[in-house]
């Protein structure tokens, strides 16, 4: 953990998504899955939107996936992120749960190199003793080619 104080916005977990943040603290990515129909659900919610079951279980997934879409921010928004400009945020489809699209920053990639279809893996940023974030970065597959 950096000894520099983390100054960007922190999450405010609710009853609905507290478990996800507990998992990230342990460097585990937990996603809800319906016990009755096995549908993966994201964002966190109270009820299965496929079969109306309340029986949802937090299930660990490997945070590897593929960039589905992205945007690179160049314009200052008056936020704490202005010091990072330009930065890229992507929508990532997870291999382990293809119905799940997760948003995260993509680090270690130039604005003109990030692209749809790019393979990324999760990394963990321990921002405070209470909060860990899931980020992404590109990685080479074993064959060195895109999926």
């Amino acid at each position: 953990m950096s000894d520099i104080e983390y100054k960007k916005p922190l999450p405010r977990p609710t009853e609905t998504d507290q478990e996800h943040w507990e998992g990230l603290k342990r460097h585990q990515v937990l996603v809800q899955r319906c016990d009755d129909c096995q549908t993966w659900l994201w964002y966190p919610r109270q009820m299965c939107s496929n079969c109306a079951s309340f029986a949802l279980s937090w299930t660990e997934v490997d945070p590897k996936g593929t960039i589905y879409s992205f945007t690179t921010q160049h314009h200052a928004t008056g936020s704490k992120f202005d010091s990072d400009l330009p930065y890229s945020v992507a929508v990532v489809e997870l291999d382990a749960a293809p119905e799940v699209k997760m948003v995260g920053p993509v680090n270690k990639v130039a604005p003109d190199e990030i692209h749809i279809g790019q393979r990324v893996r999760g990394t963990f940023l321990d921002a405070t003793p209470e909060v860990t974030f899931l980020h992404f970065e590109p990685f080479e597959t074993d064959s060195g080619s895109q999926r």
């Binding site: 921010q73 928004t77 749809i116």
Partner: protein, 389 residues
């Protein structure tokens, strides 16, 4: 098919606009009241005639502010539409329903907001007030720097470009160029100037793939309209023939949608056309909600105004210019006239249908289409017809 219950046909009977500026120097409420005063004068009504109010956005004046200032003593219908930029168009649907079913006889819809000198959309998060969506947006998007509307629409645009095999953003440039031309013809936007494709392509990057000229013009201003039963022979009344809304699943969670490019706009269009008994080819012009250039291209396809995958060629051929096959955003739109959450699309459509749209008047404009899009998952489509009822 377009004859409503009891033979009452709701129409827009009055419109009003303030000046559109970068710094109004007055309050949001004052802008709302100035626009309302102009709409009342246009409709030849006074404030005491208003018995219904629909608040079309989550900014500006409340019903209570309006009744107090306007001296409305006999309000019998009030509603608020929380659909972001879709509100002003969706409010027409509620006003039509209320008037045609006798819930109110004259309904005011007004908007006033210092969108440039006050809280700018490019510098703050979306305004959602209750439910779990604000927490989820903060916890999974805001904490990662996904903050402003340009970024959300950029995610859609990037995916659309990928799926349609675009090599560049030139089609978006052509939208910006056409609308800058319309804004100059319209003359209402302060400092409107015509831009070129090159100006667009060399403008600074905002939220890739969007450049400066892909983004709308944050503006201080207000506009209002009044809906009432069309009186026979009233040449100023513009009939509301169709009005519908559409929403995707996971409406407040665009990044996680299973059908990423599904917004509900296509369904809203189908419903509106069915209600009016029209086909997409029947409209003479369209005022499409254009927070960003991409939205115009996307909607042309979703509404069947051109074929799937054909929007780029359609726009680059000049079809959306005044004088083209389907003039779009004849006032310059949100991009080049003013971002007023789309209420200026409605006032412009009324002007076109009355034949008073000035230099950018579409010859023989009889039928127009207006859309609204907001909150990343709320859409509305309205079909308007001019001429005596």
């Amino acid at each position: 098919m377009s004859t409503p219950k009891g033979d009452v046909q709701a129409a827009i009977v009055g419109i009003g606009e303030t000046e559109f500026t970068k710094e109004s120097g007055v309050s949001d409420l004052r802008l709302s009241l100035e626009a309302t005063k102009a709409a009342l004068a246009d409709a030849e009504l006074n404030a005491h005639d208003i018995d219904g109010i629909i608040i079309p956005t989550v900014v500006g004046a409340t019903t209570e502010d309006l009744t107090t200032n306007l001296g409305i003593e006999n309000l019998r219908y009030h509603a608020a539409v929380v659909m972001g930029g879709a509100g002003p168009a969706a409010a027409l649907r509620h006003a039509k329903t209320a008037v045609e079913n006798g819930l109110a006889s004259r309904i005011l819809v007004c908007y006033g907001f210092n969108g440039r000198s006050g809280a700018r959309l490019g510098r703050r998060g979306p305004t959602l007030m209750f439910g779990e969506a604000p927490s989820m947006r903060r916890n999974y998007e805001g904490v990662h720097g996904l903050l402003v509307p340009a970024q959300y629409y950029a995610l859609w645009a990037q995916r659309y470009m990928y799926e349609n095999g675009w090599k560049s953003t030139e089609p978006m440039a052509h939208v910006a160029v056409a609308q800058s031309h319309h804004a100059v013809m319209n003359g209402k936007a302060v400092g409107a100037k015509e831009i070129s494709v090159e100006d667009h392509q060399s403008s600074r990057m905002i939220s890739a793939p969007f450049r400066l000229y892909d983004c709308s013009r944050e503006t201080d201003g207000g506009a209002a309209y009044i809906v009432a039963a069309a009186e026979p022979g009233d040449r100023n009344a513009v009939a509301i023939r169709g009005a519908a809304e559409g929403h995707p699943g996971q409406a407040d969670q665009p990044t996680t949608r299973r059908r990423f490019l599904h917004t509900g706009m296509a369904e809203a269009g189908e419903r509106a056309f069915a209600q009016a008994g029209w086909k997409p080819g029947d409209v003479d012009f369209a005022e499409l909600y254009d927070a960003f250039t991409f939205n115009v291209l996307w909607q042309l396809e979703l509404l069947g105004l051109c074929g799937p995958g054909e929007a780029a060629d359609f726009v680059m051929a000049g079809s959306t210019r005044v004088g083209g096959a389907l003039p779009v955003n004849t006032h310059g739109g949100l991009l080049s006239q003013a971002h007023l959450w789309g209420i200026n699309h409605i006032t412009e459509a009324v002007k076109q249908l009355r034949g008073i749209a000035g230099e950018a008047q579409v010859n023989g404009a009889k039928r127009g289409l207006v859309t609204g899009s907001g909150d990343f998952g709320d859409n509305a489509v309205v079909l308007l017809e001019g001429g005596p009822a």
